[in-house]
């Protein structure tokens, strides 16, 4: 394992730090693009806490703003997009010590005792912050590696760019490869085209973790892979989280994919979170009409095909987001209030909140079934 860092392991991370330990806080994040047709909002006042060592799935259809949310976490929104709001990162506290691990983050602007203001960083700080604290795996691993460079070269380059000790890091890479079921000698000495898609994607995950970041953001990491490889990577991610004390933000359009993986799910629609909650609670008894409609439109291999229905209507235009609740034009239970007033996320259950005025009605009237049994009323 790592050298020079105390590796604390929290035994029951799922319950222990569920309410307390927050690793990243996003507050009123907003991304806008100037377009010829007007201002396009592609992230609309999003606020969300990411808890330490959780696996948070961000689920949304294409054009719902989920990738923009990932970019906002790392202040990586590209021009001409403009990101405003606050993104705060809380480094892990050293065991038995209340001060932040100064060797890691000493150079950052701190807004509190131990908090780091991500959006206020200089370019140099940002460069270190990305990869060392928060790192990202993009979709399409095929294109992420330089085809003229061996896999080994990518690791060396990354390590040297961050002035880390090569031998220590490569030692860590061996552990990562072990956890990802990759043969280090074979993979390291291969060119990208010599590896299968699944191997490349796993190597890319290892590369993202080489500097031991706290948070790993993954944008559709399994989208181009075969089902079996997808399943294997999903299982490996859970093991990785447990072994290396990671926080994982998993962005996907595929709700069934994360049903077994995530601790919490955040559902995005029209550039904001419309429902956030504990995975089981959210899937078993979704409170927002959109989530319920989405669950009803996903085919699965056991469900009743006659009960399946697409969601009527089209997704909203980023330049012209509907007033009030953004889902109201497609919502079967919307009324006048929904057209005028924009609902906030309100708690509907323990650790489960939804942005809808009529969650009780939605739960009562809009039915859906999961694979193996009925949903609750």
């Amino acid at each position: 394992m790592a050298i020079g860092q105390t590796n604390q392991s929290t035994a029951d991370e799922e319950t222990d730090d569920a309410d307390e330990d927050i690793v990243m806080e996003v507050d009123d994040a907003r991304v806008q693009f100037g377009m010829s047709r007007g201002q396009a909002w592609v992230l609309n006042d999003v606020s969300l806490d990411i808890r330490r060592e959780e696996i948070l799935a961000v689920v949304g259809e294409s054009g719902s703003g989920k990738s923009m949310f990932a970019a906002a976490l790392m202040d990586a929104v590209e021009d001409p997009g403009h990101l405003s709001g606050d993104v705060t990162y809380y480094p892990r506290e050293e065991e038995g010590d209340d001060s932040p691990s100064a060797d890691q983050i000493g150079s950052y602007d701190t807004v509190g005792d131990d908090a780091v203001d991500v959006l206020g960083m200089t370019d140099g700080e940002l460069k270190n912050f990305r990869w060392e604290e928060v790192s990202m795996v993009f979709q399409g691993a095929m294109n992420s590696f330089n085809p003229t460079m061996k896999i080994k070269g990518h690791f060396h380059e990354t390590i040297q760019a961050h002035n880390a000790v090569l031998e220590d890091r490569m030692e860590h890479v061996r552990d990562l490869f072990q956890a990802l079921h990759l043969d280090p000698d074979r993979v390291m000495n291969s060119y990208p085209h010599e590896l299968s898609g699944g191997m490349k994607q796993r190597a890319l995950i290892a590369l993202a973790l080489v500097l031991e970041p706290e948070v790993l953001v993954m944008d559709e990491p399994t989208a181009a892979l075969d089902l079996l490889m997808q399943r294997s990577i999903i299982s490996m991610l859970r093991e990785l989280r447990d072994e290396f004390d990671l926080t994982i933000v998993f962005i996907t359009h595929d709700l069934p994919l994360v049903a077994g993986l995530s601790d919490r799910i955040g559902v995005m629609y029209a550039f904001e979170f419309i429902e956030v909650g504990d995975t089981r609670s959210l899937l078993k008894d979704a409170a927002h009409p959109y989530t319920r409609a989405l669950l009803r439109s996903v085919p699965s291999i056991d469900s009743d095909i006659d009960a399946m229905q697409p969601i009527e209507g089209a997704r909203p235009d980023p330049v012209n987001i509907p007033t009030g609740c953004s889902f109201h034009p497609r919502c079967p239970i919307a009324d006048d209030r929904c057209e005028i007033e924009d609902p906030d996320l309100v708690s509907v259950d323990d650790d489960h909140s939804a942005a809808c005025f009529y969650t009780d009605q939605a739960r009562g009237e809009l039915e859906y079934t999961l694979d193996h049994g009925a949903t609750e009323d």
Partner: protein, 396 residues
């Protein structure tokens, strides 16, 4: 159109599938008959090809028939040859071996010896259409929908005047739920959403009044919430136009939805072969081929309790990675990954066997009496070779 040529003259070694069609649907001629088709590619440039006899067997000895109003969903992992098989079936790719017959007429004979052909190649070409995976790349981005749709009409229905052509286009846009058609006809592809683009592509295929449409992952690029809608549209139009579909998908859940609603079949492909084919419920509830079980296991479920439990399980394969298609395993091609494989599987290649139900499978386990049941378990007998493969493919 000639439909009087039976396919019985061509009973070959692979007669199981042919027999099957003969007994199941006695007086119904298949529209499309794929018989023992193989497509082999020679990799590399001209020198490599001359020096080695290496071949990629993209499709290897596949037979199936497609009937009127039928739907066959080809399911398999990437690289299993499902697109190659689909393209071969509609005459876009020439098979290295075997034959593809449209209403009894061999497609490639018709093209190469037009004089002997009962059905002209252009007629066959028109009767079989394709919808591609990514609608954004399938439509010319610098032309309006109207121009895109009038091309095929100009080529195949040149008796139509401009006004009639326009009416036809509007009618077909209505068929694919693009209302009002006058508005959509004037748009460029970038002014359409992904779902609308795919519906234009579907409309364009239907304009030719085809008998068979190959839909190659036609819904994979769409939003999750729109996929069921697109599949419903395809099925509704199947009733209107009497079209048969070969649908390619990597997703068993979508395959089931389509095949079940249309009363079609699912064909599971592995390394260029159809390893199991049959009605959707039989394939999914009672899979006989171990590979079908693997695919079923890998399909994610949305029920959080089941999913949580499944994520802890080990996959029902001995190796996650697919073997190199240039050098496929001997005997049953799945034996390197198959949890049930025994000694006999490494040497003997299974044929297509009938199961108790309506499906056929390529696994010795479907036979009650076969050498397989007395054969030694593979794990012990074959350990050395297997270890070598494992460290090469999936090392730890």
């Amino acid at each position: 159109m000639s439909t009087d040529e039976p396919t019985t003259d061509d009973v070959t070694a692979d007669d199981a599938a042919v027999d099957d069609t003969a007994s199941d649907v006695p007086d119904d001629e298949p529209i499309l008959s794929v018989d023992d088709v193989s497509v082999h590619y020679e990799p590399g440039g001209i020198v490599t090809r001359a020096l080695s006899d290496k071949k990629v067997r993209a499709v290897d000895g596949v037979s199936f028939d497609l009937y009127d109003n039928d739907i066959v969903v080809l399911v398999g992992e990437s690289g299993c040859g499902k697109t190659t098989l689909g393209k071969t079936a509609i005459g876009l790719e020439k098979p290295t071996e075997g034959s593809v017959k449209y209403r009894g007429q061999d497609i490639w004979n018709s093209k190469e010896n037009p004089r002997d052909a009962d059905i002209e190649f252009t007629e066959i070409r028109r009767a079989m259409q394709i919808i591609h995976q990514d609608p954004a790349n399938a439509l010319n981005s610098s032309r309006r929908v109207k121009a895109i749709l009038s091309d095929p009409l100009k080529k195949y229905r040149d008796e139509l005047g401009p006004k009639e052509r326009e009416d036809t286009i509007y009618r077909f846009l209505e068929f694919v739920d693009m209302m009002p058609p006058e508005d959509y006809a004037e748009r460029y592809p970038h002014q359409l959403s992904g779902g609308e683009k795919q519906r234009v592509a579907l409309g364009r295929a239907l304009l030719m009044n085809p008998d068979v449409i190959l839909a190659d992952e036609a819904i994979s690029a769409l939003d999750v919430s729109l996929r069921v809608g697109m599949m419903d549209l395809i099925l509704d139009l199947q009733d209107t136009f009497d079209t048969s579909y070969i649908f390619i998908s990597h997703d068993l859940a979508n395959a089931r939805y389509l095949a079940k609603r249309a009363g079609g079949r699912i064909a599971i492909m592995y390394l260029g072969e159809i390893v199991e084919i049959g009605p959707p419920e039989e394939i999914l509830q009672n899979p006989t081929h171990p590979y079908t079980k693997v695919l079923k296991w890998s399909t994610p479920t949305v029920d959080p309790d089941v999913a949580k439990q499944r994520i802890q399980e080990d996959p029902p394969v001995r190796e996650v990675d697919v073997p190199d298609p240039e050098d496929p395993p001997s005997g049953c091609k799945f034996h390197t990954r198959c949890p049930e494989a025994r000694e006999v599987c490494t040497t003997e290649e299974p044929e297509r066997y009938e199961t108790a139900g309506e499906s056929t499978t390529a696994c010795f386990r479907a036979l009650e009496t076969h050498e397989y049941w007395n054969s030694a378990e593979l794990a012990d007998a074959d350990e050395d070779e297997y270890d070598a493969q494992e460290s090469a493919g999936f090392g730890d």
